[in-house]
């Protein structure tokens, strides 16, 4: 494989994805192609379907129409396909969702042990490496409840990274944090983006978007109303909805 084709390797491909919650049509035909190493930032008003969309990519939500292919695996009802996709996509939640009954290092080492079948020694070593990556190895033996919000979110990132995923998804990772802790989490995410990780980030941190995003997508009412590079989207938005929304968040 030439360097060129690796660059263009498609990691996520969705075609006309639709979803309903009861009679509520939340995704109304989403088609995106995300290539390896790309950093995509998704933003848009509350209730526009951002979370729902990224959650369909690892089947936390089922889609009803259209097709989703993640790294060559078609997401359908086959449980093995779902587990394959999930072990290749790391996900970070707004509410951290760390396992409160496990120490920090166990939180990080658990999935490598259970899913990747690593030995305890190997999993713990891997976990310590990940904790060093997010700059909190010294907290390894505490419980999540003893950490600050920013530290917890960094553990959550380490936990997702320990599965050595090909793609990382973030759903408003800094929205539940006190302002003084936002930077420490964004710094880790910026490092990750610069290291070449494929990332899909739902966020309204536009400074982050401008610094590392390759592409921005504006969601509204279950559709992508506009997408483009940060320069194009921030400096020369085409759509009235985009202009209006950005004028409020910038």
């Amino acid at each position: 494989m030439s360097a060129q084709s690796v660059e263009n390797e498609v990691m996520v491909q969705t075609t006309d994805v639709e979803k309903w919650f009861g009679s509520l049509h939340v995704l109304r035909g989403i088609s995106v192609t995300i290539k390896k190493g790309e950093v995509v930032v998704i933003f848009g008003p509350s209730g526009s379907g951002k979370s729902t969309f990224i959650r369909t990519l690892n089947r936390l939500e089922e889609h009803h129409k259209g097709e989703i292919i993640v790294d060559g695996t078609v997401l359908d009802n086959d449980v093995r396909n779902i587990e394959t996709v999930r072990s290749e996509i790391g996900m970070v939640f707004q509410q951290f969702n760390l396992f409160p009954h496990k120490t920090v290092i166990d939180n990080v080492a658990l999935a490598p042990k259970l899913v990747r079948k690593l030995s305890k020694v190997d999993a713990d070593e891997l976990a310590m490496n990940m904790l060093e990556l997010v700059k909190i190895p010294e907290q390894a033996h505490k419980f999540p409840g003893q950490l600050s919000g920013g530290q917890q979110q960094r553990v959550a990132i380490a936990r997702a990274l320990a599965m050595q995923p090909k793609i990382m998804m973030f759903d408003e990772p800094t929205s539940a944090l006190d302002p003084e802790m936002i930077a420490e989490v964004l710094d880790v995410m910026i490092d990750l983006a610069k290291s070449g990780m494929t990332m899909i980030v739902v966020t309204h941190e536009m400074g982050f978007a401008r610094e590392v995003a390759d592409r921005l997508m504006m969601f509204d009412e279950g559709l992508i109303v506009e997408e483009g590079t940060p320069d194009k989207m921030f400096d020369n938005p085409q759509h009235d909805r985009t202009k209006e929304f950005l004028s409020r968040v910038l």
Binding site: N58, L60, E83, T84, R86, S87, I89, G90, M91, F93, Q95, N97, L98, F99, P100, H101, L110, A111, L114, V115, H141, F143, G145, A156, R159, A160, M163
Partner: protein, 407 residues
């Protein structure tokens, strides 16, 4: 274990000066103000005086020999005298395991262990006055406090944790049962049928085996009720709802009187086993509902985080959801254990010889003690109290630890 070392120094405000009141000041604050507390205090004092006026002469005149001469029946029922050494040896691991649990779980097991040790020591001392207690029994009560302490010392060591204690407890419990039951007629330990077992021995055996069976059964039922497989779900709902709607006593009569009709003639049903099954059926239904409450209290986000990591459904349930559910439910679980312990007394009503049944047997069976029912029942009540008080203190300790949020 590390959590123990993290207790912070007491904050200064716990030593506020106003809390160091004189006795007079304390009485003024707690007994006489505001004015209606003075009235309550007066009424309380009158009641206590009236009670003592009746109780003191009773306690002095009481026929305690009704208890002391029958202590063997109250403790082990009609277990054959020449085989009693098997009971003594068979239950020796129990005080050791109480000590182990104390060492491992620390403060929350302290009151339970200390209560049992004090009771055993008092019993041993009382055997010095009067000669109604056999020397073997006196020896047992003398040795067992030391076994608790030995267990405590071992339990403090690092190589032993909660899981090991549970496994040791379970294995020794099986061993005890085999020991008491015995083997063939000609062996060194001839078979002793369960209708000869009795007294406190039966009460604590049913309680312990009941606890060991009811908790796992309750977990399985709760998980089945939550499952997506209609067959398991339906079976669990039917089991839980039918058994919760049946009074334990009715279930007991059903098991002992109706079920033998369906058993083949060759087998004489083990009545103690049937009663045990009734208690387990009833308590497991309630236990399942306690655990289900815990399962529902675990947030959706926990499941999603585990799924997003690629964990299998069984791992998500067993490694992520269930441990959190059980933690959240521990006070209710211990509460159910206490109920189960007290429930064992209903088997006396179908003529079995547990602690309460042994008391009935003494009062109704021996003319000499026909009027000694207050003494015997007071003793029985005191024994139940010792165990339930111990268990309640464990529950209180667990809740306290959960409130302070350590781990």
């Amino acid at each position: 274990m590390a959590v123990e070392n993290m207790t912070e120094p007491k904050p200064m405000n716990e030593l506020r000066p106003e809390e160091k009141l004189s006795i007079a000041g304390w009485a003024q604050k707690n007994l006489f103000s505001p004015w209606y507390n003075s009235v309550l205090t007066a009424v309380g004092v009158i009641l206590v005086v009236m009670l003592l006026k009746e109780a003191v002469p009773f306690l002095i005149d009481a026929q305690w020999p009704a208890v002391t001469t029958n202590i063997q029946i109250l403790l082990v029922g009609q277990y054959p005298s020449e085989e009693l050494w098997r009971v003594g040896a068979g239950v020796l691991p129990m005080p050791f395991i109480v000590g182990l649990a104390w060492g491992v779980w620390g403060s929350m097991m302290r009151t339970f262990s200390v209560t049992l040790v004090v009771s055993a020591v008092l019993t041993a001392i009382s055997s010095l006055f009067g000669d109604s207690m056999s020397s073997g029994l006196a020896l047992w009560f003398t040795v067992s406090p030391f076994l608790v302490l030995l267990g405590y010392a071992v339990g403090r060591r690092d190589f032993i944790g909660p899981r090991q204690v549970l496994i040791i407890w379970f294995l020794f419990l099986l061993l005890t049962l085999f020991f008491l039951r015995g083997f063939g007629e000609d062996s060194a330990m001839p078979h002793v049928p369960t209708d000869r077992w009795g007294g406190l021995l039966v009460t604590i055996l049913i309680a312990q085996v009941g606890i060991a069976v009811v908790l796992p059964l309750g977990i399985v039922l709760a998980l089945a009720r939550q499952s997506n497989l209609w067959f398991f779900k339906g079976a669990a709902i039917a089991y839980i709802e039918v058994l919760r709607a049946t009074p334990l006593l009715a279930l007991l009569f059903l098991m002992l009187i109706v079920s033998p009709m369906f058993l083949p003639d060759v087998t004489t049903p083990d009545r103690l086993m049937l009663a045990f099954i009734a208690i387990v059926l009833n308590n497991s239904a309630y236990m399942a509902e306690n655990i289900r409450g815990g399962l529902q209290s675990v947030s959706r986000g926990q499941v999603e985080a585990a799924q997003a990591l690629g964990m299998r459904g069984s791992h998500v349930t067993l490694v992520i959801v269930l441990p959190q559910a059980i933690r959240a439910t521990i006070p209710a679980i211990v509460g159910q254990f206490i109920i189960l312990f007290k429930d064992t007394a209903v088997i006396a009503l179908v003529g079995l010889m547990d602690l309460l049944g042994a008391a009935y047997a003494i009062i109704l069976g021996q003319d000499a003690w026909r009027t000694a029912d207050p003494e015997v029942f007071l003793f029985v009540a005191a024994v139940y109290w010792i165990f339930t008080y111990g268990m309640s203190s464990v529950s209180a300790g667990v809740e306290k630890r959960m409130r302070t949020g350590a781990d």
